[in-house]
């Protein structure tokens, strides 16, 4: 059992910095960051699933399927950026997480491959 999460601990500010230093970066609330990551992961897994089904049904085989996968992720990242559009920095610590995180992650890749295989076999192979 761990101690309960310390709410709102600043993660950008050094502890007791020198008086001449700036007051530190923005404060990050851990629960909000986690929530944002969860939402983003949810959407990316969903995008991988749809990409797999799409690639399978349209009979794409070989490396072109992975191009479909990357394309789906790019479109999803674009939509997420649109949703976060005024200040994407307010939602994620680093600006590139939206676009690039989770593309090579095991979960999404395997989801894509599974649904691609399934759809391809059901529609084209039998």
């Amino acid at each position: 059992m761990q101690a309960p999460p310390v709410p709102g601990a600043p993660q950008g500010a050094p502890i007791g910095g020198r008086a001449s230093e700036a007051l530190g970066d923005q404060l990050y609330v851990p629960q909000n960051i986690k929530n944002n990551y969860d939402v983003m992961n949810f959407n990316k897994i969903f995008a991988s699933l749809l990409a797999g089904v799409f690639a399978g049904i349209s009979g794409i085989t070989g490396y072109k399927g992975f191009i479909v996968y990357l394309l789906a992720h790019a479109i999803m990242a674009g939509l997420l950026l649109l949703k976060a559009s005024p200040h994407p920095r307010r939602f994620f610590p680093s600006p590139t997480t939206l676009a690039f995180s989770g593309i090579l992650s095991q979960t999404e890749m395997l989801t894509f491959i599974l649904f691609w295989t399934l759809a391809n076999n059901v529609v084209h192979l039998f």
Partner: protein
Amino acid sequence: MTAASELVLDREVRDWVLIPLTACVMLMQLLRQYVTALMAGNKAPVDPSKGTSEVSQKMAVARSTLLRANGGFIPEPGFRQRKQYFAAKDTGVLNQKIEAKGMQEMMMTNPDFMQGMMKQQLGGLLPQLALGALVNFFFSGFILGRIPFALSPKFRIMLQRGIDLPSLDPSYFTSLSYYILLLFGLRGVLTLMFREKAINDAQQMMQMQQSMQMGPMGPMGFDAQKAFDAEQAALNLAEHKWRLEGSEARAVKVLRTQLGGK
């Protein structure tokens, strides 16, 4: 691709193996999820008569940590006041005597811990193994489907157990390997359905290994006395650094760059 390298597979195989197997594994994962939720819910919640003290102790430690981390943002008298509240000789919160938990209470938390882990392991691994054995028994010896991209021959061992045709494309797989692919692939779908409560076998394995590595710490949950002592020592060392001290100098710098540029 030439037609010679493509197998034509029976439609019955698809109707009676592929789709049912997918449905079965999906349902099994759902069942596991709900069963663990039910079993976890059956555990008695924190007993209100003796539980609140533990919660308030944890909260006290958390507040003290926050104070040390953010002390620079409050004025000095405020910091001193709070420090006094926590670390004063006899009346400070961190100096309260913690009634040592009787062995009885330890025993109560102890078997829960063991039981929880065993239930986790059993509930997690057993249905998968059982279903795997069933799949191997019923659906062995034939090709189930094809992975849509070309694979190197090294994958043949993984994907085609029990079939000895070296000329067969390694993209074709048997039921057992499809079962394993399903297990891995449906993790993503489970995450979609259950957000963060989805059981993640790989993660659990890693977590268990890590906790094993940390050595068999007494399964005592939260040791209040030690935590309090550590916090108090740290708090006594903490000094107040008033973060707004140099703000005039910083303001001058900022204003200079802003106005100087014009």
